[in-house]
Symmetry: C2
Subunit: 270 residues, 2 copies
């Protein structure tokens, strides 16, 4: 199937998922839409999150995608089931792959979850973890300042350390977790800072890698893998300013330089 | 869905998959059938492998399973597509999850595959890897003496080291791989010996863990997870002698002692 995989996100965080999709599925074309203009979604009311997500989905469905990845935890928490029921293509969120990876990783069955206010308020991770294993203790907390910081392009340095330290204080105090899920696709961009703050004994789980792996599995099970080897170009769309998007794209895809020439970035309204 | 997950294997190797399923999906009941009497499948002709596999499938389908895991690489190589087309429940093999994990793990894009003669002859791993990424270099070799050794219960000691050393000689000579797929579910039982022989710089991929994770994903996507919390008992069936089966079950499940009391083992003919 030559059609593209559609990826939606509230901004640039989903680029970490796109990067992993490119690495693990080099034959697959991506069409990415980041709603940078209206980012962050995490502190918005439920109805608004649903409406904005559907706006993005309509934009991508017109481009004839074969599978949709919701690369935003907040949007996954509030729209995954609805989208799975209403679209006739497979829809993959980022919460369930992250939950499964955490269950696989934990030894003491104590898992921390950090995310936006919306994601944490939805309890989506706790539900996903407990549906599989009710014995897991879940400690969750929101970090509302992380996304705005990342969207400004601040990924390291004193300001990053201070923000992360303050944001994770209560998580560190309740202690004793051996696994911490980065329940927001922006957080892998400040993974090194988070790891320093929580300590080496805590294993960080990034949904990005896991989501890409499950996408690969679903594409194959549904016989949707691209077997055509003609040239294609990934397409990236943003509703906001091109400059920050370009900066972060370069940052995230720096280890995939070969792809940069194949990327087209456009500003759109949805 | 209260129904069980069915797991078939040519013998005891699939118990490593069962063990991971128990760990990652503690709410799910398993019905396992190991065709120990006719093991190993790996050196048998294709038609015989297909017939024996279908015998096992018929036995489990009568027990009303909701999903089938083919926990044997040789059986996966020759029957997966046929079973996926003919059964009306999801069917998961061990080759594709292992291939995806290897693609995720490799940095130098050189992946080694070891398996039975049947699995290697089928080229199933090479096909699975190249369908996703044609740039991967695959070095594969069969180790026909490993399965009979494991089925005898020899998992360590001088005889194990000698057999593994000889079996992996050509793999070591062609060198330069950074990832080695244990393309047979018996091999995780001698994983420590294999790791010693190939060296710490080579990352070993066990399909067992990956297959369990994909099973978890498929159960959830198809809304098949068990939400009932009444007591259940795992059922294990073997076509061969109970003694070796019991010994290895104890060995493999030793870190899951809580499950042992819930396991029923029977000898059957299919």
């Amino acid at each position: 199937m030559k059609q593209a995989i559609g990826v939606i996100d509230s901004g640039v965080g989903g680029l970490t998922v796109a990067s992993e999709l490119m690495r693990q599925l080099p034959n697959e074309k991506l069409i990415y839409l980041g709603d940078t203009l209206r980012c962050p979604y995490g502190s918005r009311p439920e109805e608004e999150i649903k409406q904005f997500t559907w706006n993005m989905v309509h934009f991508l469905m017109e481009k004839d995608i074969k599978l949709l990845v919701i690369a935003c935890n907040t949007a996954t928490a509030y729209t995954l089931i609805d989208l799975q029921q209403k679209l006739d293509i497979p829809v993959i969120g980022v919460i369930q792959p992250g939950a499964r990876a955490a269950i696989n990783a934990t030894k003491n069955k104590r898992i921390g979850i950090i995310g936006t206010e919306g994601t944490i308020r939805s309890n989506a991770y706790t539900k996903a973890l407990h549906m599989i294993n009710a014995d897991i203790t879940v400690i969750s907390g929101s970090c509302p300042l992380f996304v705005p910081m990342v969207e400004k392009g601040i990924l390291s340095g004193p300001e990053a350390y201070q923000t992360v330290n303050e944001g994770l204080q209560s998580m560190k105090d309740s202690a004793d977790i051996d696994t911490l899920v980065l329940g927001c696709t922006h957080y892998p961009l400040i993974k090194d800072v988070i790891q320093d703050v929580v300590g080496e004994h805590v294993q960080l789980i990034s949904s990005s890698e896991e989501t890409a792996r499950e996408t690969s599995a679903i594409l194959e099970l549904h016989d949707l893998l691209n077997k055509d080897d003609t040239f294609f170009e990934h397409q990236f769309y943003t509703t906001g300013e091109l400059s920050i998007f370009q900066k972060l794209t370069t940052n995230i895809f720096s280890h995939h330089l070969e792809y940069l020439s194949k990327i087209k970035i456009d500003k759109v309204s949805i």
